[in-house]
Amino acid sequence: MTLHFSNARLINPEAGTDDVGSLTIVGGSITALNAPAPEGATVIDCGGDCLAPGIVDWGVKIGEPGERHKESFRSAGLAAAAGGVTTMIVRPDTSPAIDTPEALEFVTRRAAESVVRIRHMAALTKGRAGHEMTEIGFLLDAGAVAFTDVFNVSNDTKALSRALVYARAMGALVVGHPQEMGLSSGASATSGKFASLRGIPAVSNMAERIGLDRDIGLVEMTGARYHADQITTARALPALARAKANGFDVTAGVSIHHLTLNEIDVGDYRTFFKFTPPLRSEEDRLAVVQALADGLIDVVGSFHTPADEESKRLPFEDAAAGAVGLQTLLPAALRLYHAGHISLPALWRALALNPANRLGLPQGRLGVGAPADLVRFDPDAPYILDRATLASKSKNTPFDGCRMEGKVKATYVAGALVFKG
C-alpha cells in the first residue's frame, strides 16, 4: 500500500522546518519527502493541512489492571487516535502496580486492543512503595521503556540511590517526580493569594525545586539516566539548567495543563482543575512556556489521568487529581503556537521527537525510513469542546466548553488510517 500526501504543510521537528510539500509512505514507513507520486500510489491532497509525526504521549494512565471502568486500552487507544497520539507511554500506577515481568506481560497482551502503539513503563520499586527495587533487568527484557513510581516520591533516599545505581548499570531510564513530599503532603493547591482566599491547603512552589535538587544530587552520585516527569515552576528551572550544563544525563517534561492553565482557573473549587502537582501562578506558567520554547524543557505530555464522576464530585480537598488529555493535548498545545510562544516544529520536538529519542524509539520523525506514524490536522479550525464527545471512558477534562483551535483530520499508525475526523 503506497500513500502519497500532496500539498501538505510538513512539520519536521528534526529539520526544524515547516514547509508545504509532499510525503510518500510505503507499507509502514516513510519512503520519500517532496518526491513525485510513485506509480499506483493513492494520492491524498491535504489542501494545506499540517502533516506531522504522530504524538508520543509520555505519561498516560490507563485503568488496566484495576480501574477498567475509568479507561481501558481500547478506549484510550480510540481517544489517542482521535487526538493525533500514535504512541502512548503508559504509566505503571495501576492497581496492582506494574512491578513484575508477569504484570508487564499481562498489560502488554491487553494493549493489543489499542489502535495506536503502546509502550510500557514499569515501577521502579515494588508496589511503588519506594523501598525495594523491582526486577529491573527482567522488566527491561519484557519491554519496559522506563522505570518510575509515578507520583509516589520515596523518602527512603538510600533505597532510591541503590535503585538508581542498579538502573544505570542496566542502562535503564528512571523517571522521577520532583517533589519534596514533606512539604507538599496534604496540599491541593500552590500557596499564594488564590489558595489563601479559597482556604485550600497549599504547598510552596519550592517543594518542586527541593525535590529536583535532591534527585539531581542522586543523579550526580549514581550516574543514572534521569527524566523529571513535570517541571512546572520558575524556581526549578535554574536547577534543571545547571544539571544539563554540568553534563548530567537529565531531561525534563511538563504537562500540557501546566502550560495552558493557572491556579486561578480553579475558580469556585472546580475539581476538574485539580492536578498533581497543583496548577501554578501565571508567572510560573509563563516561565515554563519560555523554558519549553528555549528547549530547556524537553517533553510535553497530556499526563492523561481518567477519573470517574464520583471521584471528582467531592469537595476540592477530597477530589481525585488529574484530567484526561489524549484528545485535547494537540489543540491545547496549539494554543501556545497561536499565542506566538513557539513554532510548530519546536512544539513537535517536545510532543514527538524528544520523547521518542529519550526512550529509544524510532518514532517522532518525518524522515525517510521513519515509521509512518502521522497526524494530519488543520491548526486553525475552531470549535467548542464538549466533553461528552470525548472517546475516553472518563470525561474529566478542564477544557469542557472551551474554545479550541486545531482539529485532527486523520491519524495513521504504521501507514494505516486509525482515525478520520
Binding site: G192, F194, A195, L197, G199, I200, R313, L314, P315, F316
Partner: protein, 324 residues
Amino acid sequence: MSFRARHLLGIEHLSPSDITTILDLADKYVDLNRRTVKQSDVLAGLTQINMFFENSTRTQASFELAGKRLGADVMNMAVGASSVKKGETLIDTALTLNAMHPDLLVVRHPSSGAVNLLADKVNCAVLNAGDGRHEHPTQALLDALTIRRAKGRIQRLTVAICGDIAHSRVARSNLILLNKMENRIRLIAPPTLMPAGVGDFGCELFDDMRPGLEGADVVMMLRLQRERMDGGFIPSEREYYHRFGLDAEKLSHAKPDAIVMHPGPMNRGVELDGELADDINRSVIQEQVEMGVAVRMACMDLLARNLRAQRGAAALAAAGGVMV
C-alpha cells in the same frame, strides 16, 4: 431593599449595600430578642435544616434559635454520626435532603468549598455556617453588627485581627467584609500562622502585637485552631501567649476605647487573658453571641423573602402569566 441573593455562601458575593441591609434588619431583631415575647412568624411554614458535618455547639444553637424565633420548623442533623460514616457522598446526602423539600439549609463542613458544591445541587436557600478555612459569613456579619453598635459605624476604623489567621475562616470573611466597608485592617500573627500572599488583600501585616495594635479601634482575637493543625506551627502555648496572647499591657497600645472581640470558643490564657475577656468595659464577646442570633435571623428572613419571590415568579411563569 437591595439584597437579592439566593444563597449566603460567603461575604465575597455581597455588596456593601447588601451588608448594610442585613445589619439594619439585624438591628431590629436585636430589639425583638430583648423582649419577653420573642416570637415572629416571618418563617412560618418554612422548614430549616441544620446540617453540621463538623461538631459545633454554639453556631448550631444560634441558628436553631434564630429559626425558631422566626417561626420556622427547625431540624438538626448530626451528619457526622450517620450517613457519611456509611459511605454516602456529600452530594447524595444533599440530594436526599433536597427531596424532603427544605426551604433553608444551614451547612457547616470541614472542607473549603463544600458548601458551594452542595448549593449547586439543591433548590432551597443555603446558608454557609463555615466551610473549612474558606468563609464563615454570618460570623463576619455578627462581628460587623457588634462593631457598628459599639462604635456607631463600620467604616474608617482600624481593626486588628490577631492570631491563627492561616486556619481561620472567620479571619477571611472578616477581612473581606471590613475591606468592602473601607476599614483599615491589620493582621497580626506569627509567620507560621499567616497565610501566603495575604498582604495583597489590602491589609497590613505584623508579627509583633505592640506595633500592630497601635491606635486600633477594634481588636479581634482568633482561636488557636489546634484541630486543624498538623503540628509544629508554634513552639508552645505558653510562648504563644507570651508573644501573641492579648493582655492588658498589649491592649494599652490600642486606642483607650478599643473593644476586644473573640469568635469563641476561647482558650483563656492561650490567646486571651481571662480577666480581659470578662472586662465589660473592653470585651464585647457576650454581645457577639447576642448579635449572632439577630444576624442569623436577618439573613434567613432575607433569603426566605427572595425564595418566596423566586417561587412566586416561577409559579406565575408556569401559569403563563406576566409579572406586572
